[in-house]
């Protein structure tokens, strides 16, 4: 009986405290200010995109595929992005061929083989630092190292080594730290229990990596590396240093392989050079080229997501 009045009191207190308070104002203010910052960010992006589409869609609608398949030209009526597009695609393939094996190999070594010494930690830290080095610095490296290298092995072409091979090497080195970091993260995400299970049935380290760690990490590695390629695809500054043409040039009827040693350009470089033209028509061409660039980048990112889902569904 003693407890009855007290529990009645508790009930009153609970009733009073959970009802009739309304919402907490401080929390709401915070929530709306967060929403506002998101809106500001999206607003700028939207304005930028709207402006580009306003200027560029006209060209794409009027000329359609002709804009994509026409060669570079000083005449805005006929100028297209053919060499830039093929240049960018070839360049990206080169980067993938160089950076992926080296980068993924390094990541596998660092994660699966290297002993955890001070030296390994030093290397890991520096790879992270390298990922933050401005791309123009890699351009200078490319100019002093890879251009000379390309020339010295006789692949200089007619441009003294300032060709796509040098550019591919430069961009590969530029994305290498990011490839290593993303691949290493994907490997680290593989649960240790899988490694132990494989070692436990008598697998060698190579068999553990080959049959269990890599297949499990593959979706992550793939997504990460495809996204790095997107970065290489959009890079401009280092290419300017290693000789990407900023004006009109002709590839004539050179084959794809010959193009790698001759003059070249890439889509973002073309965007850069067109944007500097005083002619208003070139401004529209610039916007159109940006749209093509964006569509390609979004496609690459979508491909990465699809590939990841496909791989993950297997198990």
């Amino acid at each position: 009986m003693v407890s009855t009045p007290r529990s009645a009191g508790t009930a009153d207190m609970v009733r009073a405290s959970i009802s009739g308070r309304g919402s907490r104002k401080g929390g709401k203010v915070f929530e709306y200010s967060l929403l506002a910052s998101l809106m500001v960010a999206l607003l700028f992006l939207a304005i930028l995109l709207a402006d580009i589409f306003r200027q560029g869609l006209g060209v794409l609608f009027d000329r359609g595929l002709d804009f994509v398949t026409s060669p570079l030209s000083l005449n805005p009526e006929t100028a297209g992005i053919w060499q830039s597009l093929t240049g960018s695609v070839l360049l990206t393939i080169l980067v993938a061929l160089i950076a992926f094996p080296i980068g993924i190999g390094s990541a596998i070594y660092l994660e699966e083989y290297a002993p955890d010494t001070r030296f390994t930690r030093f290397i890991n830290t520096n790879i992270r630092n390298l990922a933050g080095v401005p791309s123009i610095v890699y351009g200078i490296l490319g100019l002093t190292m890879f251009v000379t290298f390309t020339r010295s092995i006789g692949l200089g072409g007619g441009v003294n080594g300032r060709n796509m091979i040098a550019a591919g090497l430069t961009l590969a080195v530029l994305v290498l730290p990011i490839v290593i970091i993303t691949a290493a993260e994907a490997l680290r995400a593989v649960p240790n229990s899988i490694r132990e299970a494989a070692f436990g049935v008598g697998a060698t380290r190579w068999e553990v990596v080959r049959y269990h760690v890599l297949p499990s990490a593959a979706p992550g590695i793939l997504t990460g590396t495809v996204l790095t390629l997107a970065r290489a695809f959009g890079e401009t500054a280092p290419l300017l240093l290693v000789g990407a043409a900023t004006g009109f040039f002709t590839t004539g009827n050179a084959g794809l392989l010959e193009q790698t040693t001759g003059p070249y350009t890439a889509l973002p470089v073309t965007v850069f050079s067109w944007a500097r033209q005083p002619d208003a028509q070139f401004r529209e061409l610039t916007a159109a080229a940006i749209i093509v660039l964006l569509v390609l980048l979004l496609t690459a990112n979508a491909a990465a997501v699809i590939l990841r889902n496909r791989f993950e569904r297997r198990w």
């Binding site: 002993p115 955890d116 649960p191 229990s193 899988i194 490694r195 132990e196 299970a197 494989a198 070692f199 436990g200 049935v201 008598g202 697998a203 060698t204 068999e207 049959y211 269990h212 297949p215 499990s216 198990w315």
Partner: protein
């Protein structure tokens, strides 16, 4: 009870720490562990372990958390090699060969000495591939389908999975996954199976099934099991090693073997006060 030294039961009482007596003492020793200690860097995880493991017996390691029983278990198939800072001293002789001697290939050791882990850890692959992986890398040339079936049958899971061998192993329940892991461990036809708290993630029914399975498997294999569950040790094991943890002046916690004897003796009439305290729940 007579006074003659030939009386087996009196022998076992007179020789605490080294369980002898009973007919099973006739079984050959396959592991002879002398002065085993494991350090992680400067930290001594466990020291002073002297144990002999006999063929076709189940030997249980019990003791409070941090007493080093899992660390000791992982010495038997050189799993501690995978931890960089781990250093094993003392000796484990396996059929007379020092496991940590020069020229011993840990990969080959792990083929003879299988392991089942605390948390079921099937490969993220099909049920079939989970079993087939070990034999495949060991160069098994025979009929793989038959070996897979045999291993799954031995692990008492065949009837539950025979119609879905190509399904993901992750589709199985926890208890089934653990039996799959046992099947995987015996697929390479090992000599010994190490089990590190194999039932700690399982419900009582699944636990019972694994225990029954262990009783069957000991006909063919020698089993070492680490368990937190004292009833489990009492139910399934032939001999039991009780470990405890000593806290040093600097707060360093070092595991130590307290007593090793026939399971019946450990649980009914232990020689050491510490063992009795632990068994009866006064400590740990």
């Amino acid at each position: 009870m007579t006074e003659t030294p030939r009386s087996e039961s009196s022998l076992s009482v007179q020789a605490p720490g080294r369980g002898t007596g009973r007919s099973r003492s006739e079984r050959p020793i396959i592991f002879d562990v002398q002065g085993l200690a494991v350090n992680y860097g400067d930290f001594t995880a466990v020291a002073g372990v002297d144990i002999d493991i006999r063929q076709n017996e189940i030997t249980a390691f019990i003791g409070p958390s941090g007493c080093g029983k899992t660390t000791v278990l992982r010495c038997f198939n050189r799993m501690n090699d995978l931890i960089e800072t781990a250093r094993v001293s003392g000796s484990i002789e396996y059929h007379g060969v020092d496991l940590y001697g020069e020229g011993v290939d840990p990969v080959e050791v792990r083929r003879r000495i299988g392991m089942v882990f605390q948390k079921p850890n099937p490969f993220p692959k099909s049920i079939y591939d989970n079993i087939a992986f070990g034999p495949k890398i060991a160069g098994f040339k025979g009929d793989m389908d038959e070996l897979v079936e045999q291993s799954l049958r031995r692990a008492a899971i065949w009837d539950e999975v025979k119609d879905k061998l190509q399904d993901s192993a992750f589709a199985l329940s926890g208890g089934q996954q653990q039996r799959l892991c046992i099947a995987r461990a015996i697929a390479t036809s090992p000599d010994v199976v190490l089990m590190d708290e194999p039932c700690s993630a399982l419900d009582p029914i699944a636990t019972l099934r694994i225990e029954e399975l262990m009783m069957e498997l000991k006909e063919d294999y020698t089993i070492l099991i680490v368990t937190h569950n004292m009833q489990q040790a009492a139910r399934v094991s032939d001999r039991t090693a009780f470990f405890t943890v000593d806290v040093g002046d600097t707060g360093m916690r070092t595991g130590r073997l307290v007593e090793f004897d026939d399971t019946d003796k450990i649980f009914v009439n232990p020689s050491e006060q510490q063992t009795e305290d632990y068994i009866t729940g006064r400590f740990g």
